[in-house]
Structures are given as C-alpha cells and as structure tokens.
Symmetry: C2
DNA sequence: GGATGTGAACGACTTCACAGCG
DNA sequence: CGCTGTGAAGTCGTTCACATCC
C-alpha cells in the first residue's frame, strides 16, 4: 500500500484560520516582493489588475488570494501597499527572523550566502556545516564552516530553526536526520532525492534536474506542435 | 484586464497525443531517476506500489501517470524497468542531447556546471556568458566565459537551444530578450523576477526566495497548530 | 494472488460574473 | 465609474474501487 501525507490539521482555531493552498502561499511571496518594489517607487495604492498584470496572474486570482488577508481592499481604490505588505509578511510568518543553517558548503551554498535578499526578507544564516575535514574552519561570508558532529550543539546554541541541505544525494537522508535530531523544524532540500522526515518537520524540495527536464519537455512539445521533430 | 497564458495547442495529432499536466511531467522525472537507480541495482521489473512508496506518491497516481506512456505494465507482474526508462526519456524529450548555455557565471552557475548528472541526463553546457569584463576569458570546467555581445554568434554556432539565466533580477529581462533573439527555445530562470517571453519560448522559473518563504510559512503553521506562537 | 488500467467520485484550484461600495 | 469581495461555475488533478488479466 502507498501512503501519502493527508496534510494533518486539527486546528484549535487561530485568529485567521483559513487554510491556504500551496499555490496561494507561493503567490503571496510574489505579491510581497513586487509590492516592496512598488512601495520603493512611491506607490501608495495598488489594484488587483495592476498586481496581476505585473506577475502574470488574473485579477480575480489576485483578489481571491488577498481576500485571505482580511478586507484590506477599498472598492474603487485598491489596496494600500504598506498594509498589504505588513499583512503578507505576518501571514507568511516572516515578520520575524529565521535563523538558518546550511549543510554542504559547495557552490550552491555560496550562491545562497552571497545573495543579499534572503537576509532582507527575514532569513539569517547562522551556521555552516560540511563533512569535508579540509573545509572545517574556512570562512564564507564571515561564517566559519563547522564539522557535522557539532551540529546539535551549534544549532541549539544559535537557535536555528531552518536547515538547507546542499549535499550529494547519497548523503542527504543522513544529513536530514541529523538536522531533525538537532531540533531543526524545516528543511529546504536541494539534493536530488526524496527525503523521509517526521511530519512535525516541514519540507520543501527544489530539484534542479526535474526543472531542467521540465524545460526540455516543454521545448520538445513546442517542436512537435509546430511540425519539426 | 489581466492576461494569463491559456496554453495554446491546436495539435495536429502526434503519435502519443495526450496533454500531460505539469505535475505529471515532474513526476516523470522522478520516476526516471529512481528507475535508473533500481536498474543499476539489477531490478528487472517494478510495480506501481514499489515506485510510489519510494517517491511518496500513491500507487494509483503512479499507474495513472505511467498509463500515458502506453500499456507497458503487465498485470500481476509490474512494469519492465528498461522499457519504462526508454519510454520516459522519449516522452520527456531527453532521448537526445540538449545544448545549453548559462548566462551569469556566479556561484549558482558553477554549482550547475560542477554537478555531474545533468550531462548524464542529456544536457550539455556548451557556452557561458557574463557581463563582467573581468570574467571574460576565464575558464570554468573547460568552458571559457564569453562576453554578452558574442551571444547570438556563439549560440548559433554551437546549436544551443536552452539557456539558464543566473543573473541579478535587474538584468534578467534584458538577458532573456538577448537569449530569445539569439534563437534559444527555452529558458530556466533563477532570477527573482517574472519574465516576459514570446509564447514560442518555453519558460521554467526557480525562485529560491519563494521556496524559502514557503518553508518558513509551513513551519510557522506547524507552530500555530501546536499552541506555541 | 498480485498487479495493471480506468471510469467515477472527489477534492483543489481558477475563472466568471456580478452585487455592492467608495 | 472603478475596483473589491465572493458565490457559482468551470477546470484540473488525485484518489477510489473494481473489472481485468497474468
């Protein structure tokens, strides 16, 4: 028999209770980023059509999404940018800082570390781990690389809650288990493997090979549709 | 008014004609990778339950997906691994090599270049581009970094069809336009922006900020559900 | 018995269309 | 009149359940 997580939630009933779909949450991130950019340009008010056009989403979809935040919109006017941003950050849970660690310090980890913009959005990298003895002690962006066996200690001491797994596929499950044991509450996985985690730990996977293959498929399709094999 | 691409397809009727959902295609990639691993371990035949359990998918879903490939399964037995792999590669369009270029040679590009596994799956990096004069001429993995203004020429000469955009958000649209003009047929975008491309060019975007925020949201949710704010 | 393929039921997400408010 | 919020309809994707075949 096969088992697929049925998305447990016997909620007690928090203030704003509605369950958001994964798709809505992802669009929330897009709205947030675009609104921040609009605000920087001096916008006070934004309409669903405006937002939708900028992000390639229908205006109806935008309104449905934003309605989850409460009645922020004013008919005839639009949404106040500043309030929307605040509501989005709160609902996404990024109206605070998330201490994050990275395991596997290769080029991908460096790309994440050098990208100003995560910190800006509420994520702070507080520790780096690698299994390679040669890398221990090296610094990347003012952060020293620590050995795996210090993980539990360092994660606890620095209050890290999120972990990024950027190790080869073979090591990914072991590393994830270690992160879970260290008390991490969510994992962003870049390794090309399906991870098994306890349901209390959140998981988001980014599989670059899958995305590249998706792209090849789409191009392949376009070809077929237009005659050329 | 808002406009969302309605996924054009007035298909003439290719051999296997059914439209595959994005989700199915992504699972195809997962099936393929897992089957290749099983085959290496000597497996001859695989059941939908087996595949599903390994990948966290229901057996029914696996069968639905694989049925798109024709009737490869044998009741009471399962699917022949070798045939499934061949069918998947063909249907995904990776029963060939895709010449691919990367624009923006930072750490992310290097991560992709160093990752053995893309080449294995049919992707070959054939050119690198960067706007930084200091990088021109440098070699990464036996590939020399070329200036942007050589893009059209080099893409044509090397027959590149796919492009990876790994530049800052501000430059992404311009770079994509250049790739499109150079004749690229599909773009994998890592820049945190929504790109506008002609419908003849396929687009897959990987937005790391969105994924991290999705993770934060999930952890945030778990928290709320379990009392702790 | 064990496993596939598939209609039918279900559920999730999106778009439509319009009442209602500023 | 412009724009929001939302029920209703529509579309898409997943799961169930079972007839069917080795």
């Amino acid at each position: 028999m096969s088992r697929a997580e049925p998305s447990r939630s016997h909620g007690n009933g928090s203030p704003t209770d509605t369950r958001l779909s994964r798709a809505t949450v992802q669009r929330f991130s897009l709205y947030l980023r675009h609104l921040q950019s609009l605000l920087r340009e001096g916008a006070q008010t934004v309409s669903s059509t405006q937002l939708g056009d900028a992000l390639g989403i229908t205006d109806a979809q935008v309104r449905k999404d934003l309605a989850y935040l409460g009645n922020l919109g004013q008919p005839g006017i639009g949404y106040p940018a500043r309030d929307l941003i605040a509501a989005l950050r709160q609902r996404l849970g990024i109206d605070r800082t998330w201490a994050t660690v990275i395991v596997g310090i290769g080029n991908l980890a460096r790309a994440l570390l050098h990208h100003r913009g995560f910190e800006q959005q509420g994520f702070r990298f507080v520790a780096l781990f690698d299994a390679d003895p040669a890398k221990i002690g090296q610094k990347v962006n003012h952060l020293e690389i620590s050995p795996m066996d210090k993980m539990a200690q360092i994660v606890a001491r620095r209050g890290a809650e999120l972990g990024v797994v950027a190790v080869p596929a073979e090591a990914a499950q072991k590393v994830s288990d270690a992160l879970v044991n260290a008390g991490i509450r969510g994992i962003l996985n870049f390794a090309p493997t399906v991870l098994r985690l306890p349901p209390s730990v959140a998981l988001v996977s980014v599989d670059l090979a899958v995305q590249l293959e998706q792209l090849a498929f789409l191009v392949h399709l376009n070809r077929e549709d237009h005659g050329e094999p």
